[in-house]
Amino acid sequence: MAHVEGQQHPIGVYLWIWGLLFVLSAFSYLVDYFHFQGYLRWSLILVFMLMKAGLIVAVFMHMRWERLALMYAILVPPLCLLVLISLMAVEGDYTFVTRASSFGQGSGVPVEHPYRPHGAG
């Protein structure tokens, strides 16, 4: 073999994935276009996003043809980020509740809009 270390795959693979990414992106856009709301909207967005990300990493970046040592070294560490995201979600929720109870209506603190365009009001 002349190129033991190169990734060589038939062009059809890339064209297929390209087409799939187009379709998935169109679906993502349609989620907004048709004004889906609530949990349906969020889950559809996440599903299409993860499918697109998976296709790009697996095929375009050739991850599915790499050895497990590289695959795990690259794909496992980002899972730590889920911890960060959950911690910050708890934190953001707490800040919201604190703000609402301290600065919200009925708390005695006057509510001001933080931005006044052109110095109005």
């Binding site: 190129h3 033991v4 270390e5 190169g6 990734q7 060589q8 795959h9 890339y14 994935i17 390209w18 990414l21 187009f22 992106s25 993502s28 856009y29 989620v31 907004d32 276009y33 909207r41 969020w42 967005i45 996440l46 299409f48 996003m49 697109k52 990300a53 790009i56 990493v57 095929v59 375009f60 970046m61 050739h62 790499e66 050895r67 497990l68 040592a69 590289l70 795990y72 070294a73 690259i74 560490p77 980002p78 980020l81 960060l84 995201i85 910050m88 979600a89 934190e91 953001g92 929720d93 800040t95 919201f96 703000r99 609402a100 600065f103 919200g104 809009h113 933080p114 931005y115 365009p117």
Partner: protein, 241 residues
């Protein structure tokens, strides 16, 4: 004679697969990432660090959006355009998404033709990829101009709602646009190398003494696909959520 050639190069036993393969690779007392060029492993590790950076941006965006008591501006409306009398929500962002995906497709094929030593197709596809990337940045410049000049969005406030909108928007899309711009520059450099035949003649790059070869096209491709990958997440979390 034949025997010595076989033992020195060709006759190494097949590498073990699966979990056993991971243990064998890491304990081999050699390089851990086998069958992967050195530069490619390094690019993957750089992309891993970049993943952490972009996730920190998106996580801080999540935190400020969750914690604000002022309504968040509706991205669907903020990024709407009126084209030929029709008010279409989020259309510019959709076009940018399709352009970036197309550039990823052309990049993937450039890598393939590079390994086939098809100089012509490889360089054409690299230039097309760079063109898509440049037009993406151009549309982003248009989007920023529209938001800053017409809508009055600033990093510290905006007329539509929560003031954190501007800070998150400029930080996240600005950093991504910077990545795309750097990518375009390196795509052009890579295309020039391919066209000049540097990679066939194994001419070293300008910052290294290592011999040039078509692996750099694949490494360039990894970076470019990553830029597309980040956009997938920005599109989902910032524009669609």
């Amino acid at each position: 004679m034949t025997q010595s050639v076989l033992t020195s190069t060709g006759a190494s036993p097949p590498l073990p697969e699966g979990l056993q393969g991971i243990v064998a690779d890491w304990s081999s007392d050699q390089r851990a990432f086998k069958k992967v060029p050195w530069g490619k492993a390094m690019m993957w590790i750089f992309l891993l660090s970049d993943t952490f950076i972009f996730t920190c941006f998106l996580t801080s965006y999540m935190t400020v959006r969750m914690s604000t008591t002022v309504p968040w501006p509706n991205p669907s409306e903020v990024f709407a355009l009126t084209i030929a009398g029709h008010h279409i929500p989020l259309i510019l962002i959709a076009i940018m998404t399709f352009i970036l995906i197309s550039s990823s497709g052309t990049m993937a094929m450039a890598v393939k033709f590079g390994y086939e030593k098809n100089k012509k197709m490889c360089s054409i596809l690299l230039v097309v990829t760079a063109f898509f990337g440049a037009s993406f940045v151009g549309m982003q410049a248009f989007e920023w101009t529209k938001l800053i000049v017409e809508e009055g969005v600033r990093p510290w406030g905006n007329p539509m709602g929560a003031p954190q909108f501007g800070a998150s928007f400029f930080m996240i899309t600005g950093f991504h646009g910077f990545h795309v711009s750097v990518g375009v520059i390196f795509l052009i450099i890579t295309a020039i190398k391919v066209i000049r035949g540097d990679l066939d003649r194994q001419r070293p790059g300008f910052m290294t003494g290592r011999k040039g070869n078509y692996e750099i096209v694949e490494i360039m491709g990894l970076y470019w696909h990553f830029v597309d990958l980040v956009w997938v997440f920005i599109f989902a979390f910032f524009y669609l959520w």
